[in-house]
């Protein structure tokens, strides 16, 4: 499998670029406590009233400060970390649920498949965003985990759908029949034969679920209905709007989160496209190997 990743790196410029962007963002997010410490020194750069409010970007505060005197660089990195955390949790959870449901339904078939399919469809049909709005109106002060769980409920069906159709196509492959004739049980067949061939699709499914979660959360917060006790990129945008930051000339509080979100979006999509080109030969402009 690592050979496949190395091959992807080598042959696809899009994959390289995408992974690099995402990689840098992840590193920044992981290291955000370090950056906070560098920026703040002894004090907490995000404490209210820590610095003078509305400072223009300068040597001490690369992105300036906000209305309450909080350093914006630290806030942005912090927010990035939180957005990625939510994405990771919601992404992993919904992928795991989606994969389990998809494999059981796709491989076993029959009545179990029908039941699971209908369940998936029910979740898909329900309009997720209005429901999220309603939920968040009741849950103003929630933890990160709760938010992630809420988002998971609405993103797992997408993963399940895509993966189930791949399972269906793989299920009747000759090597699966060979495995059955070699007396492997269903469990062994799913994990040893099918899952390894689906890793790129599961990866794409995860990336999409994660992105979906980030932007669902951003959407909620920009409207002002997200949980307000966690500062993340979406909330920053909301504050930028409600404080009229642009008209005050305080552009960093708006621009920084937008730039990072855009980079994340572009990065993940480049990875997706790179993966798709690798695994769907018809999309390739020129054949690699």
């Amino acid at each position: 499998m690592f050979k496949a990743i190395r091959r992807l790196w080598g042959s696809s410029g899009k994959f390289r670029t995408g992974i690099s962007i995402v990689g840098v963002l992840i590193v920044l997010a992981i290291l955000h406590p370090l950056f906070s410490w560098i920026i703040g020194g002894t004090q907490d750069p995000l404490a209210i009233g820590g610095y003078d409010p509305w400072e223009v970007p300068n040597v001490d505060h690369w992105l300036g400060t906000d209305r309450y005197g909080r350093d914006l660089m630290a806030m942005t990195l912090d927010g990035l970390a939180i957005s990625l955390e939510v994405a990771a949790i919601a992404g992993i959870l919904s992928t795991v649920i989606g994969v389990v449901v998809a494999f059981v339904a796709g491989y076993k078939g029959g009545k179990l498949d029908s039941v699971l399919n209908t369940t998936t469809d029910m979740f898909l049909v329900v309009p997720s965003f209005p429901l999220l709005l309603t939920l968040s109106a009741y849950l103003k002060h929630v933890s990160l985990l709760t938010v992630a769980l809420m988002l998971t409920i609405f993103s797992w069906p997408f993963a399940a759908r895509t993966i189930r159709s791949y399972v269906l196509s793989l299920r009747s492959r000759p090597y699966v029949e060979l495995a059955r004739v070699t007396n492997l049980n269903d469990f062994q067949i799913i994990f040893q034969e099918l899952v390894p061939n689906m890793l790129p699709y599961i990866g794409v499914g995860f990336a999409n679920a994660a992105l979906g979660a980030i932007f669902a959360l951003v959407g909620l917060e920009v409207i002002g209905l997200g949980p307000s006790n966690i500062i993340d990129l979406g909330l920053m945008i909301n504050w930028a709007i409600s404080w009229g930051a642009m008209s005050l000339g305080a552009w960093p509080i708006f621009v920084a989160p937008v730039v990072f979100l855009s980079l994340l979006f572009i990065g993940v999509n480049l990875v997706n496209v790179g993966l798709e080109e690798m695994y769907n030969p018809r999309l390739r402009g020129t054949a690699g190997a």
Partner: protein, 355 residues
Amino acid sequence: MIDHSRVAVAPRSTGDLVEIVDLGVYYNTVGGVSKAVDGISLEIGHGEILGIAGESGSGKSTVANAMLRLVRPPGFIASGSIRFRPGNGKPVDLLQVDEATLRDIRWRNLAYIPQGSMNSLNPVMRIVDQFVDVMQEHGTSSAHEARQKVPDLLGQVSLAPHVARMYPHELSGGMKQRVIIAMAIALQPDLVIADEPTTALDVNVQRMIIQTLGDLRDRFGMSLIIVSHDMAVHAELVDRVAIIYAGEVVEVGDVHQIFKRPLHPYTQGLIQAIPHVGGARRRLEGISGNAPNPSDWPSGCRFHARCPYATEYCRANHPELLPFAEAKSGNTGTTPRVACHLYHHPKEMGVRGDQ
């Protein structure tokens, strides 16, 4: 309704219809340059059926692709020319003409039936509309005129006129293949190239298709190139056979000579690997070894590693495709050409006289 008479039609003109000279088609791959077709020269006369035989990976389908300039990157035409002299047009080099002229030639003078094309009929269009599509694209008739011709074309492949109103999924495999053939001859081309036209068809349908293809020459005077790995198809249908191995022609000759007195050891291996129902019960031998890698053709004669007669001379020297007059076939007077040191350098091989 169906004309069963086998009227031999005189060829449309004399001289060669197509002359392929030193064709080379290479592919740029991660592992280097793959020389799928490496210096192939062949000619096809008017009203002649030429078979191109060889195993998978030998390059035979690539030759067919190249004739219509259908080679896509990472493949490219590395060398050679393909001179085409249609009955009613000027001689051209198919590899050099501009796109507009090529589009004119395609379908009107030169038709191509790719492998598995019966499965690429448009599933949402009726048969008649697909004909009209093709004829309008490449011919000068209006939609109305094209529509008039369809029942006739279907009749030429023994299909009923009402098939025109049907959709592809309503047709059986053999019927679809016949539709494809009818579409290919819609504009009365001089040459039809068919790539594996009988593969994946049931055996009685195969016979029907072979008969239909034979009719194209017998009744309409068209030349045919049949690319197939199945030697029995060549035995039933073609006039001459060219054997392709490792991107080269290793033997070309009259079909009777190829089957009765194959010259090249590879041809001999191919011919004797065919089981014959009702024949004597004996053990057949395959050809030992594996097909070589197009990115790394063996030195000297490309068949030397698998040849029962190979010597050191074969490993060092690449044989030329040259005529061998001693095996001239009585029927048509065609002199076979073979690329093997046994025939052209017998002394170096330690061979005396006839084999």
